[in-house]
């Protein structure tokens, strides 16, 4: 690529020709303020904070999308620019509800950071002479809340939804200073067709769109002496939780996480990694059955609730292809209540199962009416990774200072197959490890590398039981839509397809720690987290779900065999076509 030399603040700099002025300046060490720009997602240049002074151009120009040009002379820090940034921040602040101390984003609010940096006073918001826009809180859906009182109308959530899902759930409503973000015509979130992937939340620079918090319920349960609170952390939580406490992105803090469970006062642990191993037993069995019978193929995985929401609302004719196996979260709750409680001598009614998830849709999954067994909810509360971090902070626990600990209880033991569930391709790989061995393929493989990596759609063919088994791995709702279009037109017969609602898989879920736009632009956060998961897997002694001793014990003592009558009653679910407001 050609290089371009331009002059920024009196210094010549040479950058590739596809650079924006913002990127060129940032690589020189200048921090250009911005609230709307998110590379590849939101390039609308609407916040007007990244303005620079370009010689021979009238007024100030936004630098985020401004292409570098040979000989361009740019200034990023004139009095006029300072003045403009301060005034525009004052304007943004005027409708913002500053109750930062109660805010979910108190530590990583991009607006607050800039307000501090530019020493901005909220002159309009604090003056009686100026009106404030009416605050509208759309909390009609269980997992997601949109709060116009925080919203600065940067539009990142809208474009994130458009780019990541193609479903365009969010839009600007009304016009001018009465603009609100929400489903079209300010309709309820609940029947908006949203799949709750939470990409909007990840993109938001403030806390205008967020998960509905369950922290207080969990704290209350922990205080209740009559309750036994069982915690189930998802695979991806352990490689992201540390980020909320200043760790490197993707750092594995599993040991510290287990220590924190002790300190917080959880009574028992059922690691969702263990539950993932269980899911593989059931789903693998289902795959074998379907291949044998030739019915309802291809088999679609069912662990990602965002994906399930998508199928039920947008592709309901494929419901029969879904694996009926409950997701690891739900299985975790079931095992805690219907097996572990008995083993430990607890009353099932006293068990409170709290999962910690990288996901927004998991909150909604746990609340589905069918997710109830023998009169008790499978999962009582779902915390996102972020919520758990907030809970820890509220408890005064500094995660990174904790010693590594081993988890207590035998249901915290898992195999490498369980941990890679958090990455795109992980469920597929875990299933292949078990299925290929059960079918007696020799030598049975461990590493199925073609299914790994953040690639939109991955396809491969494996020989199982003398048959060519066509598999595919698809991540991200937008890619899933593409895959469906392609699959409907194609003659190719698939046998097994893994779908995950988020690009990269659960490690990039909507409930994971949020990083500022500049970090999101320059660091491949998902890749770092995935790397840590595969690192854990590589170092595990046992890497196949069916070799998990406690899984074997579980089947011996209770479930008998995968797909048994009891397994079906407890560990399988049903789906139904759902409509939404169109």
């Amino acid at each position: 690529m050609k290089n371009i030399t331009l002059n920024i603040n009196g210094i010549d700099t040479t950058v590739p020709e596809d650079y924006s002025v913002m990127r060129a300046a940032e690589e020189m060490g200048y921090n250009i303020p911005r609230l709307c720009f998110l590379k590849g997602i939101n390039e609308t240049s609407s916040c007007r904070l990244c303005v620079v002074d370009v010689e021979n151009l009238k007024g100030l120009t936004n630098s985020c999308t401004l292409a570098v040009q040979e000989g361009m002379v740019v200034k990023t820090d004139t009095d006029e620019i300072q003045e403009s940034v301060v005034q525009n921040l004052q304007l943004l602040a005027s409708n913002h509800v500053f109750s930062c101390w109660t805010c979910e984003r108190e530590h990583n609010c991009e607006l607050l950071d800039l307000m501090k940096r530019y020493n901005v006073e909220n002159i309009y918001g604090e003056s009686e002479n100026f009106t404030k826009k009416e605050r509208i809180i759309n909390d009609s859906s269980f997992p997601i809340v949109i709060d116009s009182g925080k919203c600065i109308l940067c539009g990142r959530c809208i474009t994130a939804c458009e780019v990541h899902t193609g479903l365009n759930i969010l839009a600007f409503n009304k016009r001018g200073n009465e603009t609100y973000v929400g489903p079209a015509l300010n309709h309820n979130m609940e029947d908006s067709g949203c799949v709750y992937c939470g990409k909007c939340i990840q993109a938001c620079p403030v806390a205008a769109i967020k998960e509905k918090s369950e922290i207080d319920f969990v704290l209350a349960a922990l205080k209740d002496k009559t309750k036994k609170v069982v915690v189930g952390p998802a695979p991806s939580v352990r490689v992201a939780l540390g980020e909320e406490f200043g760790s490197k992105i993707g750092e594995n803090v599993e040991g510290k996480m287990f220590k924190s469970f002790e300190l917080v006062g959880f009574d028992e642990i059922v690691d969702i990694n263990f539950a993932a191993d269980l899911t593989i037993m059931e789903e693998g069995h289902e795959l074998l059955e379907r291949i044998k019978s030739g019915k309802n193929l291809p088999l679609f995985t069912s662990c990602s609730p965002g994906w399930i929401n998508f199928v039920e609302q947008y592709e309901p004719t494929y419901i029969s292809n879904l694996s009926t196996a409950k997701s690891p979260q739900q299985s975790g709750g079931i095992i805690a209540k219907h097996y572990y409680a008995k083993e430990l001598g607890y009353n099932i009614e006293d068990i409170v199962f709290v999962s910690i998830m990288p996901c927004i849709a998991k909150k909604e999954e746990a609340r589905r009416p069918e997710m109830e067994s023998r009169g008790t909810r499978d999962v009582d509360y779902v915390l996102t990774t972020r919520e758990y971090a907030r809970l820890l902070k509220r408890k005064g626990i500094d995660l990174m200072k904790l010693e590594d600990a081993k988890p207590t209880g035998f249901l915290a033991e898992y195999t490498g197959a369980g941990v890679i569930f958090g990455a795109t391709g992980g469920v597929m790989e875990a299933a292949l490890r078990t299925v290929s061995e059960i079918l007696g393929e020799e030598p049975s493989k461990i590493d199925f590398t073609p299914v790994r990596g953040i690639i939109d759609i991955k396809e491969a063919t494996y020989k199982l039981a003398g048959m060519d088994i066509n598999i595919a791995v698809v991540n991200g709702i937008a890619n899933i839509r593409t895959f469906f279009e392609r699959m409907k037109k194609s003659e190719k017969e698939y046998h097994f397809v893994e779908f995950m609602g988020c690009i990269g898989g659960c490690i990039n879920g909507g409930g994971q720690p949020i990083h500022p736009a500049k970090i999101q632009d320059t660091v491949d956060i998902s890749a770092l987290r995935i790397q840590s998961l595969y690192e854990i897997d590589k170092n595990m002694e046992l890497r196949k779900s069916h070799t998990n001793k406690n899984i074997i014990k579980l089947y011996e003592t209770m479930l008998k065999e995968p797909g048994s009558h009891l397994a079906h009653e407890l560990l399988h679910t049903t789906y139904k076509a759902r409509t939404f407001y169109k």
Binding site: C47, R48, L49, N62, T65, S84, L91, N177
Partner: protein, 596 residues
């Protein structure tokens, strides 16, 4: 057969609103009754321009200009003028009568004689529903010349040579815009006519669309030929139903004659036009928002570059020209760039159409050569200010422009000169403001408009205009301080320099220009708590002077009954109860009620 007289009935929207719709039927009825219907041709024309005096009836061959014609007057015109051949003097527009009561022809009236009508050349003279009339006035000859005698590049060069600049507001060279699009190679290009006229009080484009739709089609076709586009869109607001109707008729007539479609004039050039309706958002007049709207998206502006000429409609090279710009083009191609470039000034060629309004006698549409002074427009064409009031300022460019004070009235109308004094050409709104107006209040009015019309995308325009409006309201209410005026100016500058699109960048212009030229008036509001124009209610008080004749008119009309006084005695206003509606001032026959 050839008729002995032509009766032109102005059917522009303004005249229709004043009752012109029934005139045609009245003429039919009376001419038939008199048995001379076959001798007279009735023509419904577009806007004649002098809207203040409408509805108009112009009778040829004499060119007699009847103004303020009502239904009942038609009978008189038919019986006297058309039947007996006697001009009905009492109905003739007063400026069309000489001192000796002789009737001047329509184009000898001062209102018209000072004008040079290029864009408006056919408006009010032809029936817009009849393509034959347009062709008879040399219509489609410009297109013919382009298609048959010239290459696309030659057409582009001709446009550059003519010096025509965009009439929609920006004033960018039309030829250069075309050249840019011409040079961008693509399998598909588009031309768009921007007929989303939205400035309050501006109706140039509407008059052109209603009065001479074929000139717009022809202009668009020439543009298409020049840049290599075979598809044109006319983006017109749905609030212009008559214009839409006329355009539809014009398009279908052109198609029937083979002027639109495949292989036009046997030249191999194909072109078709589609009308797209806008919902009336002001911001959709901005190029990128207009494109978004045509594409079916929300009318919101996008960042430039890329400019539409590079990546426009559906991502293809697109040029967008304003209605008035397009109306000039056929004539430029027909008469040549050299002819056109001789009109106007060095940097601003040709003419400009203005909608003259506000406190002016002859409100209406005027087209003057660039370089004409504001004074000429206001006093010679416009006939000056009614009621012998003093002129305070002239606002050009509507909510995006600025106010030009009386002291600068000899300013020549050009793109650059207007910018230099803090205003702009804009699309052609020209509001005359007299001494009884409050500049702060006018600022507030324009800002209210901008706040309503901001699309809400970028911070400075969405939030900044609202804050400016609230500051202006504060000043108007007398609660402001000198500091507020500084803050207002400060904010206005930031909104101007940092807004995303033209709407936001121009929104502070009224504030900035009025602060430059009328700062003392702002200061009176906050320091002396006085509104010099007597407009801002919280700052004024109505009192009755000794001129009162005790007629009780004010007391009878006062909606809150706060005026006391016996017949033939001095009345008084109880200012604690007064709601400052101003009715008393309006009804007083002796101007004894004043605001202080």
């Amino acid at each position: 057969m050839i008729e002995r007289a032509h009766v032109l009935i102005c059917s522009g929207s303004n005249c229709i609103a004043r009752g012109a719709k029934s005139l045609h039927d009245e003429f039919e009825e009376h001419l038939t009754r008199l048995g001379i219907r076959h001798e007279i041709k009735l023509v419904n024309t577009g806007c004649v321009g002098l809207c203040e005096q409408g509805p108009f009836v112009i009778v040829y061959p004499e060119g007699v200009f009847y103004a303020l014609v009502k239904g009942k007057d038609v009978k008189t015109i038919c019986e006297e003028h058309l039947y007996k051949g006697r001009i009905v003097e009492k109905l003739v527009f007063d400026e069309a009568l000489t001192e000796n009561k002789e009737v001047k022809a329509f184009d000898e009236i001062k209102f018209y004689s000072k004008q040079t009508r290029i864009a408006l050349r056919n408006c009010g003279l032809i029936n817009p529903d009849d393509i034959e009339e347009y062709i008879a006035k040399d219509g489609y000859r410009g297109l013919g010349r382009a298609l048959i005698e010239m290459t696309p590049l030659e057409v582009v060069e001709e446009m550059i040579a003519s010096g025509l600049r965009g009439r929609g507001g920006g004033g960018f060279s039309t030829g250069l815009k075309w050249k840019y699009a011409y040079n961008n190679e693509s399998d598909q290009k588009y031309v768009i006519c921007n007929a989303d006229e939205g400035d309050p009080g501006a109706f140039m484009d509407r008059a052109l669309l209603e009065g001479d739709p074929h000139s717009i089609l022809e202009g668009l076709m020439i543009a298409g030929y020049a840049i290599g586009a075979d598809k044109g869109y006319i983006y017109v607001r749905i609030e212009y139903p008559t214009a839409i109707e006329k355009l539809k008729t014009a398009i279908s007539q052109s198609r029937n004659l083979g002027l639109l479609g495949k292989n036009i004039f046997g030249s191999g050039f194909n072109f078709d036009i589609e009308i797209r309706l806008g919902a009336g958002a002001f911001v959709c007049g901005e190029e990128t928002a207009l494109i978004a709207s045509i594409e079916g998206g929300r009318g919101m502006s996008k960042n430039k570059p890329p400019f539409p000429a590079e990546k426009g409609l559906w991502g293809k090279p697109t040029i967008i020209n304003n209605v008035e710009t397009l109306a000039n083009i056929p004539e430029i191609l027909f008469q040549g760039a050299e002819w056109f470039s001789k009109i106007g000034t060095e940097k601003s060629k040709g003419t400009k159409v203005f909608s003259l309004g506000g406190n002016i006698k002859n409100a209406g549409l005027v087209e003057v050569p660039m370089g004409t002074t504001l004074r000429e427009v206001v006093y010679e064409i416009g006939g000056g200010i009614p009621n012998n009031k003093q002129l305070k300022a002239v606002q050009t460019g509507g909510p995006s422009g600025g106010a030009i004070p009386e002291s600068l009235l000899d300013l020549k109308i050009e793109y650059e000169t207007l910018l230099e004094v803090g205003s702009m050409m804009g699309s052609g709104g020209m509001v005359v403001i007299d001494e009884d107006s409050c500049m702060v209040d006018i600022c507030r009015f324009y800002m209210e408009f901008t706040v309503d019309e901001s699309c809400g995308k970028c911070t400075p325009c969405r939030e900044g205009t609202k804050k400016m409006l609230e500051m202006l309201e504060l000043i108007c209410s007398g609660k402001g301080t000198l500091e507020d005026i500084d803050k207002l100016e400060h904010l206005a500058k930031t909104v101007k320099s940092s807004s995303l699109c033209g709407l936001g960048q121009a929104a502070p212009n009224p504030v900035l220009s009025m602060l430059e030229h009328f700062r003392p008036e702002f200061e009176s509001h906050v320091v002396d708590k006085v509104c010099p124009g007597g407009v801002c209610k919280p700052l004024i008080k109505y009192i009755i002077t000794d001129d009162c004749i005790g007629c009780r008119q004010c007391a009878i009309n006062c909606p809150v009954g706060c005026i006391d006084g016996l017949v033939k005695q001095l009345h008084t206003i109880d200012s604690t109860a007064c709601i400052k509606c101003g009715v008393c001032k309006e009804v007083c026959p002796v101007y004894a009620v004043i605001s202080v």
